[in-house]
């Protein structure tokens, strides 16, 4: 057996170029597999983070009847005395902020925008002092300034601003229906533009101070939602249940309901689950391509050595030893390829994770489902790296059995004459 291993090792070093080319092909397949898996995993991870950071927060409190009617953004199904509920939550140790969300028409004037126009929008009125503690807009400002309490001003998402040609200092008019159904119109100056990494938000974001909305919409201190931030590793379902118990103890004139982000984003998560199936197919196809590449190069490597195999048989070496020698040699090539592949995969992953691929040029105008705006980054997935390593080695080893077996079925003269 020692001789067989030694022979296999010698064969590996004797045909250096072939060994390197074959191992290189295996390495490339493994690297691609590791990199694509990292990118898809990263897109999913970042999407969830951006969803929580810019859309849903960790847990949200609504008036009990709001969730079913949320698409209509009703102002009359609200949380009375929103600020007082936030204060009680803070006293219970939570980081919370109230918001009022309403729909309306945004009127653009020719004086600022070049031509008149209007579009349906959703406006989020925020507590300018506390909202940035719950959501992560603090570092997204690209022009102008953040909102001040009570002012008649808005912040726009940068993609929305680009789409309508808005600049800081321009004025917009929002026409909406106040609490009860009356019409109200608000002239608001664009105070700042934020570039939110969540594309769904960045395409539509309009924020204004909650005090201004409160006055115009006759909310009388009510808010439509209260958002709560929890640590990233928190068990949100358990925390939401705990928050529900806390708010049940509040003396509120309406029944409040705490929903965790997974419940609120269940449509998105269902889509991610479906996408995961597609992602699995993509990874499987990459795996198949890599496996076929590995098999093909191993088959070629063995078929071109059938004469050598005939020579060894004519010199009296047993079929078992010949097969073992070829299989060990293939395993060696697979091992070298897998090691190289993992090293290349890790190097590629470093680039993907810390720099990433800027796909903003096509994500700007299309919705690929992920909540990432432009740079697609990866994540470390040790299971994938280890799996790719073992699969690369194992496939190389297994595919050596077939051509070796076929060659061993040939008679010795046929092997020696084989071209």
């Amino acid at each position: 057996m020692k001789f067989v291993i030694s022979l296999a090792f010698k064969n590996l070093t004797r045909y250096k170029r072939r060994t390197l080319i074959t191992a290189g092909a295996i390495a490339f397949g493994i690297m691609m597999f590791i990199m694509v898996d990292s990118m898809l995993g990263g897109a999913e991870y970042e999407s969830v983070r951006n969803l929580k950071w810019y859309e849903t927060a960790s847990v949200r409190i609504y008036n009990e009847g709001y969730w079913e009617e949320r698409h209509q953004t009703p102002l009359d199904i609200n949380i009375p005395e929103g600020a007082s509920v936030v204060k009680k939550l803070e006293e219970s140790g939570y980081t919370a902020s109230a918001r009022t969300v309403f729909s309306g028409d945004m009127i653009l004037n020719a004086e600022d925008f070049g031509e008149d126009g209007n579009l349906s929008v959703q406006v989020t009125a925020i507590d300018t002092a506390k909202d940035y503690d719950v959501f992560h807009y603090g570092d997204t400002l690209v022009d102008g300034r953040f909102l001040e309490p009570n002012e008649e001003a808005v912040l726009l998402g940068s993609w929305l601003a680009e789409d309508i040609g808005a600049e800081v200092g321009y004025w917009i008019t929002i026409i909406t229906r106040g609490n009860g159904g009356f019409y109200e119109a608000m002239d608001l100056e664009i105070a700042g533009i934020v570039n939110c990494p969540n594309p769904n938000v960045n395409r539509t974001l309009i924020m204004m101070p909650i005090e201004t909305a409160d006055y115009y919409l006759a909310m009388e201190g009510a808010a439509t939602e209260i958002n709560i931030k929890l640590p990233d590793n928190a068990d949100v379902e358990a925390e939401a249940a705990e928050i529900q118990k806390t708010i049940n103890s509040f003396d509120s004139s309406v029944k409040l309901r705490a929903l965790d982000w997974k419940y609120m984003a269940s449509d998105y998560l269902a889509m991610v689950e479906a996408k995961r199936g597609g992602t699995g197919i993509v990874l499987f196809l990459i795996f198949i391509i890599a496996a076929v590449g590995i098999s093909n190069t191993m088959l070629m490597a063995i078929y071109e050595r059938i004469r050598e195999l005939g020579m060894m048989r004519s010199l009296g070496m047993s079929d078992g030893k010949i097969r073992a020698s070829f299989v060990i040699e293939a395993a060696g090539i697979g091992l070298i390829g897998s090691i190289l592949g993992v090293i290349l995969g890790i190097l590629a992953n470093l680039y993907v994770i810390y720099i990433g691929f800027d796909l903003g040029f096509f994500m700007r105008d299309m919705d690929i489902g992920f909540r990432i705006q432009s740079v697609m980054r990866g994540i470390w997935n040790i299971d994938t790296i280890a799996g790719a390593f073992f699969a690369g080695t194992l496939i190389s080893t297994l595919v050596a059995f077939i051509p070796t077996g076929r060659a061993l079925k040939m008679d010795i003269p046929s092997c020696l004459r084989h071209q």
Binding site: H71, Q72, T73, S103, G104, D105, I107, A110, D116, N118, S120, T173, I175, T176, R177, G178, N179, G180, G181, F182, Y183, E184, A185, M186, Y216, A218
Partner: protein, 244 residues
């Protein structure tokens, strides 16, 4: 004789306001005048915006103040229908065979891009109870003496919290209206351009409506024919019939 003299003296001493009709009464009569038990109408909408003028024709049926159906007959919109029931507004597009329930902010959209919003079709016409009404003066419009009334909503549930309306003293027709937001911004304006008589009923034959949030935009609503108090089949106002 002595008693008659006392009554006469008392009448002379009563203030003039005791004979004046109240704002609520004027608005109630005007709303009643604008509401038919049932009616069938043919009309035209001339929509002007910065792109030009577009004309759409329609037939409409209404019953009371809560039910109406409009079916467009002009080529571009033929078969499109707008059904208003007591609480809902539905649109039917024959090309897409699609039925849409209008709700939320979509109600502010102009019907066929006109200055008349779907919102304007909703809600009862019982303004006398929904607004605090004050007669602020008299003006002449189209040669008709009109009361000028200022309306301020008692409730938040009306679309226009403030209104100024000009109502004809003779036939209680709303000749002009200005509709404001809660903070006092003029949102919409309505003005009768031509009065006429159809089938013995005096009504506005041409009315201009302008959405003041749109520049260079107005819609002229023209009544071509009107049959009031006709028998209408219940099915006209049913959702099932809308897509037929």
């Amino acid at each position: 004789m002595k008693n008659k003299l006392i009554i006469f003296a008392l009448i002379l001493l009563l203030p003039a306001s005791a004979f004046a009709i109240s704002g609520e009464e004027i608005v109630r009569k005007a709303d009643d005048k604008a509401t038919y038990d049932s009616a069938e109408m043919a009309g035209e909408m001339r929509i002007t915006d910065r792109f030009g003028t577009k004309t759409s024709t329609f037939n409409s049926w209404s019953r009371g103040e809560n039910e109406s159906l409009i079916e467009f007959t002009s080529l571009a919109e033929r078969g499109q229908k707008v059904l208003r029931t007591e609480n809902e507004i539905y649109l039917y597009y024959p090309d897409a065979e699609e039925l849409i329930r209008m709700q939320g902010s979509a109600l502010r959209q102009g019907m066929l891009g006109s200055d008349i919003s779907y919102e304007d079709m909703t809600g009862g016409k019982d303004r006398a109870s929904q607004y605090k009404i004050e007669v602020t003066g008299s003006e002449t419009i189209l040669g008709r003496d009109c009361w000028v009334l200022s309306l301020e909503a008692r409730t938040r549930s009306v679309p226009y919290p403030k209104e100024t309306v000009w109502i004809d003293k003779q036939d209680y027709i709303v000749m002009k209206g200005e509709y404001f937001t809660k903070s006092g911004r003029l949102l919409k304006e309505m003005e009768v351009l031509e009065l006429g008589e159809i089938d013995g009923i005096t009504l506005a034959l041409e009315t201009k409506i302008s959405d003041k949030m749109k520049r260079d935009s107005d819609t002229i609503l023209i009544v071509k024919d009107l049959k009031a108090n006709v028998a209408l089949d219940d099915a006209i106002f049913s959702l099932e019939e809308l897509s037929w």
